[in-house]
C-alpha cells in the first residue's frame, strides 16, 4: 500500500463517519472492523490490531 493509498483510505473513512453521523459511528466502525477482519483472513493479525488500536486513546498533549 502506497502513501497515496493510505491517504485515500483515511479520507474515505473520515467522509463515511461524517456521512453516517456520530450516533451511528460506533456501529459503523464495529461493522467495518468485522468486515475488514473477514477479508484479511488472518485471525492473529486481526486480534493484534484489535488490541493495538486500544492503546493511547487518551493521549494528552506532550509535556
Amino acid at each position: 500500500m502506497t502513501q497515496a493509498d493510505l491517504e485515500r483510505l483515511y479520507e474515505a473513512m473520515a467522509h463515511q463517519i461524517d456521512s453516517v453521523g456520530v450516533d451511528h459511528a460506533p456501529l459503523y466502525l464495529a461493522k467495518l472492523a468485522l468486515l475488514l477482519a473477514h477479508h484479511l483472513d488472518d485471525p492473529e493479525t486481526a486480534l493484534r490490531s484489535i488490541a493495538d488500536a486500544a492503546r493511547s486513546l487518551d493521549a494528552g498533549p506532550a509535556r
Binding site: 460506533p26 456501529l27 464495529a30 461493522k31 472492523a33 468485522l34 468486515l35 473477514h38
Partner: protein, 540 residues
Amino acid sequence: MKPAGKSAHESLYFDYPHFEPPTGPARDTLRDPVTVAIIGAGPVGLTAALALAQEGVRSVLFDDKASFNDGSRAICLSRASFHIFQALGIVGAFEGKALGWTTGRSFYRGRQILEFDMPDSPSERFRPMYNLQQQYIEQFLHDAVAANPLIETRWQSALTGIRDTPDGAVLTITDPVESYDLPARWVLACDGARSATRALRGLRLKGENYEGRYVIADIQMDHEYPTIRRALFDPDCRRGGTVLIHKQPDDLWRIDYQLRDDERTEDAMAESAVRAGVAAVLRDIGHEGPWELEWWSVYSANTLALDDYRDGAVFFVGDSAHIVPIFGVRGLNNGLADAANIGWKLGWVLTGRAGPQLLDSYTAERRSATLDVFANATKSARFMTPPSPGWTLMRDAALSLALDHPFAGDLANPRQFTPFTYAGSPAVLADDPAFASGPCPGDLMPEARLDAGFLTDRLQPGFSALCLDPALTRAVNDAAEVGLSAMTLPATPGDHLDAGPATAYLLRPDGHVAARWKSASAALVLEAFRALTFRTGDPS
C-alpha cells in the same frame, strides 16, 4: 401462570391427571426399606426410574405434587434424548406426537439474515430436535412407569428430612396423612431447580446469573408455518430485544420475548401485559387470526452447578445439580442424560455387574458435560441478551453486517445441543493410536444404517462389542459374560469408523464408545469390559 379464572391444571389441550397419595394396603409398607428412593417425579426422575428398572433395580418415586408439572415448560427434545427413550423402549409414543425439526431462521429488523440446518441425514434414526410440551413428556414417561412392576410412585409425598446412616440415609416423607421415616440405600435427587433435597443437605449451586429476562408464553392459534425455530433480533414489536418462536403439537406456539431493562418483572407478568406483548409479536409475523393464551412464565439465564453431584448416598440429577440458560435447549436434555447415566451405573452396581467405583464417574462425566453446556450457552446468552455496551455493539454490528454479508450471520447460529464426549472419564479407556479418525472413546457412537434398520435398533442392552470379524463376534459371545454381547458389523461399515478387518468398538449401555481397537481380540474386549465395570478380583 394461567389466564384469570383458570386453575393451574386447566388447559386448552391437555387433561391433567389427579394422583392420590398412597391409600389402603399401600400404607402398610410405607416404612419398608427401599433400595433407591427418587425424589421428584418430573421427566428426570421418571427417566431415572425407568433406567434403573431396565437394569432390574426397584425404585420408589416421591413427588409432592398431585399431578404433572403445570405448563408446557421445556419443549425441545434433542436427538440424544430420543435415543435415551429408544433404549428404554418407549420412543414410539414420543415419535407419534412430537414435531421433528432441523432448521432455524434468524431475522434482524424483519429481514432474514441466517438459515441454518442442524446435522441430519438418512442414516440417522431420529431428527436433530423435536418439539413436545413437557406435560406430554411427563405423561409418556409416566405411562411406562405406571406399567412397570419395579417402580412404585407416591404422590403428594414431600421429602421433609434426611439423615445419613452407615447404610445410606433415612428419609422423612410427609404426605396428607402423616410423616414417616424410611431407610433408603441410595437417593436420587431429581427435584428440580428449587430442590428440597439440596436445601436439606445444605448445598448451594454456584455460578453466574445473567441480566436478560424473557417472558415465555404459549398460545393456541391456527398459524401456517413449518416447524422451524424463528429468532427475531431487534424486531418492530420489541426494539432492542429478541423474540423466539417455536411450533408445538396441538396448534400450540411458544413465544419468548425479552424484557427491556425498564420493564418491571411484576408488571410484565400481568395478563394484560402478556397479551399485549404477544399481540405485538403476532403483528410482526403477520398473524391476523384469533389466538388463545394458554400459559406464561418468566425466565432469566443462569449458569449454576453443584461442585459435586454426589453427597454421601445422594446423587443430584438434572436441575437439582445444575441450571443452564434456556438458549440452545440444554436444560431438560442435559437432565435426561444425567438420569440415563446414573441409571445404568447404579443399576449395574446394585446388580453386582459393576464395582462401586463406577459411580465415581457420574460426577466426572455429567458435571463436565454441564460445564461444556455453560460454555456454549454463555455464548448464546451473550448474543441473545448482550450483557454490556461492548457486547451489544458487536452483536448489533454482526446482525447489521449479516444483512449484506452472510458470513456474519453465522455469529447468530446458536449451535444447538450436541452430545458431550466423555473422553478422559474413568469409565472409558484411552484411544488406540492406530486410528486416524472415527468416534473416539467417550464419544456417542454415530448412528448407522444396518440392513433395513438402524444400528441403535439392533443394540442389545448392556455393553456391546461391534466387530468387523464374525469370528471375533463368536469368540466374545462364547465367553458368555453377563451384560456383554457382540454383533458383527457389515464388512464395509463406511469410512466414518476408520475400520480394518479386525476392528472392534466396545459400546457402553448408554451408547458411548468405551474403547476401540484397530486389531481387536476377544481377550482385549473382555479385559476392557472387566476394567470398565470395576470388578476387581473377578476370575479371569
